[in-house]
Symmetry: C2
């Protein structure tokens, strides 16, 4: 197997057309399979307060047999905390797409991102949809236009695609777009359940895989990518990741990809999109990667990694370029605040910081049993647990406050 990053985003996948437009803060993206709907799975915010489009799309994937013919996503309004009117407008978005593209209404996924508590301007969406549908294209610019249309406080658009050369000689593509900058603390769960942020990601593949394979591949990929990004620790009401298999790869290739090969490609795309979100966190001047090892379990390692990358004190210190020895203390406090299994004290804890330009790498080892020496990165390490995880985030700058105070 060989995985190669390729251009084209969504449109690197056979059978996918996309487009997007924007008027000021209000953007509209549309994604469509070439012909009939593809097998689809989704993961949604665990926030108990869920936006109308999240409820609609989660329901669609439950009862609809998991088929998605098109995805419509608007920016500039979350359509959340908007009551019965909001629910009707989310349904109206699906209806409009269905009649425009001639696909079943129950195969249209809807997503929204933007301020919570404002009513959607459905008239604007109707007007924008005409233009967007007309310009649907399978050229790379279609994916880029869609990625740009769903941006809110994002400063750049996010796309990633890979081409997988399978051992059996097939060639399969996985490609997607994403958005996310603030309210980033996703806890995405399969169909309905979550931790949280507004981040959206729409991923397509031309591999023809069963709903079951798509579901477990997505769950694992998201757990190690989007669910490990923290910008501010605020869980959104609108987070959504959709994975659609068009199954329209070149003839016969569907059988030629193993689950492991597909997973490798999907993991790559999800991690790259997740890191793009971290890099573009609201007000970010630095990218932060936290690697944790020596934890009793992967779950514990994840909790610790997220706690470090979430800490306002660690984030402010990184923004200010504080001396590494003083940042280490704040990292240690964040690690210690986690309710993870097993006891550890400062003797067991090793924290190392490295910076390469605007990228900061923090390594935390909960199993280093050599006191001050180990803490300074010397000494022999006695690993206590095999749990490892990596989280991504950014620093906390004046601009984060400015963006969210406005």
């Amino acid at each position: 197997m060989k995985i190669k990053a390729v251009k084209g985003g969504l449109c690197a996948v056979n059978g996918v057309r996309a487009n997007g437009v924007r008027e000021g803060s209000k953007g509209l993206a549309l994604i469509a399979g070439k012909e009939r709907g593809g097998t689809a799975v989704g993961m949604f915010t665990a926030n108990k307060i869920k936006a109308a489009p999240v409820l609609l799309t989660a329901r669609l994937l439950e009862k609809g047999g998991g088929r998605v013919s098109a995805i419509i996503a608007n920016s500039g309004c979350a359509n959340c905390f908007t009551g019965a009117e909001g629910k009707r407008k989310a349904e109206r978005m699906a209806e409009l797409v269905a009649s425009s593209l001639g696909v079943p209404e129950e195969e249209v996924a809807v997503a929204s991102t933007g301020p919570i508590g404002k009513q959607l301007d459905i008239g604007l969406i109707e007007r924008q949809l005409g233009e967007v549908a007309e310009g649907l294209t399978s050229e790379a610019r279609g994916s880029t236009a869609a990625a740009k249309a769903i941006m809110t406080t994002d400063t750049f658009h996010k796309e990633q695609a890979v081409s997988i050369e399978t051992d059996a000689g097939g060639r399969v593509a996985v490609g997607g777009i994403a958005k996310g900058s603030g309210m980033i603390f996703p806890h995405l769960q399969l169909s309905g359940g979550g931790r949280g942020a507004t981040m959206l990601a729409f991923i397509y593949t031309d591999a023809d895989l069963s709903e079951e394979v798509l579901r477990r591949s997505l769950e694992d990929a998201v757990e190690n990518s989007f669910n490990m990004v923290v910008v501010d620790g605020d869980m959104s009401t609108n987070d959504m990741v959709l994975l659609v298999s068009t199954g329209s790869g070149e003839a016969g290739e569907a059988e030629k990809i193993s689950e492991a090969e597909f997973r490798a490609g999907l993991d790559f795309v999800c991690k790259e999109l997740a890191k793009q979100i971290a890099r573009d966190g609201e007000g970010a001047t630095k990218f932060v990667e936290v690697r944790v090892r020596g934890a009793s379990s992967v779950e514990d390692a994840r909790e610790v990694a997220r706690a470090v990358v979430r800490s306002p004190l660690v984030k402010s210190a990184i923004f200010g370029g504080r001396r590494p020895d003083l940042v280490r203390g704040r990292v240690a406090a964040a690690v210690g605040s986690c309710a993870v299994a097993g006891e550890f004290g400062e003797e067991e804890l090793s924290v190392t910081l490295k910076s390469e330009g605007r990228e900061i790498f923090i390594e935390v080892d909960l199993g280093a049993g050599a006191g001050a020496g180990a803490r300074a990165g010397e000494g022999k390490r006695e690993r206590k647990g095999e749990g490892e995880a990596t989280a991504w985030g950014c620093d906390l700058s004046y601009d984060y406050v400015r963006i969210n105070a406005g």
Copy 2:
């Protein structure tokens, strides 16, 4: 019973002398009972990484039969993540006080606050101690000097005292000092266990109460006061609250106070000190109070209240004076992110915001069952649960970033 706020802080309590000095960022406070040690209980950070003074004082209260003759507390260095050298220096602080005041070393409580990971300048502490011990006084200025000495990024010192006129005709005092401004997310637990921040509070009373009564009174008081303050959500390695009963009230008065009367006085002091900490949060320009009701349990109400007051998005919006309808959406998202019992959606949730000058009051009702009407604060409310809680915090300003970037 009548509770009256009185001046004097710690020194409003019979038998308590205090003093403090400061050289730049390095302060030293000393508190002593008039004669022999008093019955003492303490609560400590739940952070797994505990500063050397926290470990020392927690151990003292476990094995020492719960007596404290003096408290020494320094600012400017947390003495945490400092290895064996840090442990020796914390012990040395206790030794120095013991020999200076002629009290048993195992009755000296030690506390520290300041940056993590720096070694303590024990020479400076030794020099400062001479001056501080010499100036110990039972006059109000002693309490103020001690409260000022433990300040770090605090912009004002924190003291509170009450006089309780008991139904049986006694008169008992409860008085204390506190510090706290950043790294404020305390989860204080009895002797050893915690959530987190550097906040310190030292409270004395001349009521002569058993260790058992002191312990359960403190636990309940802290749960509803210090543990409900959030500045940044970073749990400190150094949080500590000590309650010492000197038992040196006027003759016979010890028996004249009921547990309920004492609790009322202690609760008042703890809540006032906690609110002072919230008001003085790093960079704060506004004070925020969040009241939650309608939750399934008090624990759930606490979790929701803390989540709202912790949210960077809610805090930035308050700093910027964002329109209440837009802040409400962010509050709703923070509420929904909590893993509390029972399901609720936007129909059940009522969020109201009021501002009075620089004080913001947020009311959240999880049991309001009247849809949009209830959300707007009209409509009839059908309460689902009886769980209620209040949390305190502040806004997130540019100054928070500036203070912690430096």
